[in-house]
């Protein structure tokens, strides 16, 4: 499989807490070069505390062949025209290395963090992606834009605001997804899907991919080249003692995800709906400290891949090989020894 990473290297998914190490915008160029030199296929950026497109611009100018992508940028707070232009600029700047990963976020964030009106996210993001394609096609073909949807109507083309065609006009769009409806939309209109970390291999295989195929079938599309890019929950460390700390952290994370109603389907698919309900109750009662203990080792193993540095790569391959096309993985790099170790792990993950 292809291997991607976020910055900084070794960053673990923090759920909704603040990450241990934040991305340092002054180091993006240098770090991107390191990532490229380690044999990675892609560098991803989230839309959390920095503008993801600013980070992408810095990474693009520092590298030559690394793929770059948002994983994911929140779509709705930006007009499709804004996102289309940003992606076009980055595609030109990176000479075709940019993938636009988009996500819907949830109602509370769109309304109360971005100050906008909410609407059913599946149909909205479908139209958003269709609008992006219509805009890009009009720019590349030099034809007037005429898009009429329920959320967006765009039919004004003015030469001064119309970018010229570019050398790599096919910008892949990946959609973040958990629930089947969004997977179906990804199959209908996108080039790839980014399952949330809470999505297990079983859930991807049995729930998400069938939904993707349904969407593709509905749209009469082939899924040739469709990307499934995961960011698996991982607990890994050089040795057993340090691994125990990681396991504790990832257990808390699984508990947090289980308490989140939006992810219930991922627990129900494993017959764990009652556990999800229980944790949701604890979370509502603000009994946070009790939550991790409700996640047994067996449940932990379902959601997280656990192992020392010697064990982790074969375990990831055993779970995900043949199922996904891309996986995010990294360990912290402090010195040349760490770098060499990570380079070996990335190479091992490349095994097909």
């Amino acid at each position: 499989m292809k291997v991607e990473t976020l910055l900084p290297l070794g960053k673990v998914d923090p759920g909704l807490r603040a990450p241990e190490q934040a991305l340092d915008i002054h180091r993006v160029g240098e770090d991107a070069r390191l990532v490229e030199s380690l044999g990675y296929d892609g560098l991803m950026v989230e839309d959390t505390k920095q503008d993801p497109f600013v980070v992408m611009a810095l990474a693009a100018t520092a590298t030559t062949h690394l793929k770059l992508g948002t994983a994911v940028a929140i779509a709705f707070p930006r007009s499709p025209m804004v996102t289309a232009m940003t992606a076009w600029t980055l595609a030109r700047l990176s000479r075709g290395r940019f993938t636009l990963g988009l996500g819907t976020q949830v109602k509370g964030h769109i309304e109360r963090r971005f100050g906008m009106k909410w609407s059913a996210p599946g149909p909205w993001i479908r139209e958003y992606v269709q609008a992006l394609h219509a805009i890009w096609n009009s720019w590349q073909a030099c034809t007037p834009l005429d898009f009429a949807g329920k959320h967006y109507r765009m039919n004004l083309s003015v030469p001064l605001f119309t970018p010229e065609p570019i050398e790599h006009p096919v910008i892949p769009i990946h959609l973040a997804a958990v629930n089947p409806y969004l997977c179906q939309v990804a199959g209908e209109v996108a080039d790839g899907m980014r399952p949330h970390p809470v999505c297990t291999a079983h859930y991807i295989r049995e729930v998400m991919l069938p939904a993707v195929r349904k969407g593709a079938h509905k749209a009469g599309r082939s899924l040739e080249g469709f990307a499934v890019s995961i960011k698996p929950l991982i607990a890994t460390a050089p040795d057993a003692a340090r691994l125990a700390v990681r396991v504790r952290d990832v257990r808390a994370r699984v508990a947090f995800y289980a308490s989140t109603p939006a992810y219930r389907a991922c627990f129900e698919a494993h017959g764990l709906g009652a556990l999800a309900d229980e944790l949701q109750g604890l979370s509502r009662a603000q009994r946070w400290e009790e939550m991790p203990d409700r996640i047994s080792d067996e449940v932990l193993e379902l959601y997280a891949t656990v192992g020392t540095w010697d064990e982790i790569v074969p375990r990831l391959l055993a779970r995900y090989r043949g199922l996904v096309t891309h996986a995010e993985f990294s360990i912290p790099v402090h010195d040349a020894v760490d770098a060499a170790r990570l380079r070996e792990m990335v190479e091992a993950l490349h095994a097909e």
């Binding site: 503008d51 600013v54 810095l58 980055l90 030109r92 309304e111 963090r113």
Partner: protein, 351 residues
């Protein structure tokens, strides 16, 4: 005078036509370093064919001293939270060299180009700027955000989506304005005004600055460090033959602006309102080719600073001293002699 330039050097304001020289995104870093070496204070980037924040990123990353301003980014198609976050990233990246210039655009563009809903722009912009500032102060002080206005309710603070405070000072906001209502909002809330090229010195002094002061008075503000940034229409060349050509280009541009209803006030202030109406009728009838001839020399002279390279800096100073704090100016640079001449002009203009 603070001296800025757009990229590429020598690019003239194009109205709504194609720009003379398009920005090449892959050359922005190199061009920005060159602008810095020429002695400019800043670069101004537009929001037309490339993402202005990506351009700003590249220009800031390639320079150490230069200030980079969006001039201007269109506000409403981005949630205030998006714009606040982007500006925050650029301020951090550059140690405080980024200026957030915002503009409203017009109804047709917001609705039909960006697919959004329109609303009266001045009150909307007021809410927008307040929301951006409320977000920034929450991030800087580590307090929860709580913004409520007619256009935006923003009151969700989540640690993972909350940027760390900045070490540099507050980010200046400049507002693009032509009409008095928006100038008033700038006076109330912004740190500077980005004046449209069609605003003559006369209009600037008689209409724009009084409206800014009125807005400031309404908000009880003192406009001590308020920056008035102009982008004058300029026709300049090394010799008389070249200048005659530039002058006719500018006549076409003034005709175009005159035909645009949003700029009618700038013509009416000179009692050229009838001309603006005629130009508008011609443009509706698509009689583009005939429009330039309707603009007489005395009208041209009101809107455009026209002069040879040897005198243009002095002419600009004479027209704008006391009215403007910063100015966009450049000439095309194709060889070392051009570069030396431009560096000398910039040095002169900065005096």
């Amino acid at each position: 005078m603070i001296v800025e330039t757009m990229l590429p050097l020598g690019r003239a304001d194009s109205g709504l036509k194609q720009a003379d020289g398009a920005v090449d995104i892959t050359s922005v870093a190199g061009d920005a370093a060159r602008v810095e070496a020429l002695g400019f204070d800043g670069i101004a980037v537009q929001d037309n064919k490339d993402d202005p924040y990506v351009m700003s990123t590249l220009a800031l990353q390639a320079t150490a001293r230069l200030r980079v301003a969006t001039s201007v980014a269109i506000a409403f198609p981005r949630s205030p939270t998006v714009t606040a976050m982007t500006a925050w990233s650029l301020a951090r990246l550059s140690g405080g060299r980024f200026v957030l210039g915002l503009g409203s655009q017009v109804k047709g563009h917001i609705e039909r180009r960006f697919g959004g809903r329109w609303s009266a722009p001045a009150p909307w912009m007021r809410d927008y700027l307040r929301a951006v500032r409320d977000l920034w102060s929450a991030w800087q002080n580590g307090t929860p955000v709580n913004h409520a206005s007619d256009h935006y309710t923003i009151n969700l603070s989540v640690p993972i989506f909350t940027p760390a405070p900045l070490a540099c000072g507050p980010i200046p906001i400049h507002l693009a304005a032509v009409n008095p209502a928006m100038c008033g909002v700038a006076g109330e809330l912004a740190d500077g005004l980005r004046v449209h090229p069609i605003c003559s010195p006369h209009y600037l002094g008689r209409v724009i600055l009084p409206a800014v002061r009125k807005g400031a008075a309404r908000a009880g503000r003192v406009l001590e460090n308020f920056e008035v940034a102009v982008k004058p229409l300029v026709a300049t060349a090394a010799d008389a033959e070249g200048l005659a050509l530039k002058r006719e280009e500018m006549r076409g541009r003034v005709a175009f602006y005159g035909s645009t209803p949003a700029y009618a006030a700038a013509f009416e202030a000179h009692e050229f309102g009838d001309l603006a109406q005629r130009l508008n009728q011609y443009s509706r009838a698509q009689r583009w080719a005939e429009m330039s001839a309707l603009v007489p020399d005395d009208v041209l002279d009101e809107f455009v600073t026209i002069g040879l390279h040897d005198t243009i800096v002095e002419q600009l100073r004479a027209r704008y001293q006391g009215l403007a704090d910063s100015m966009e100016f450049s000439i095309p640079v194709t060889n070392e002699a051009d570069a030396a001449r431009l560096a000398a002009m910039v040095e002169d203009l900065r005096r």
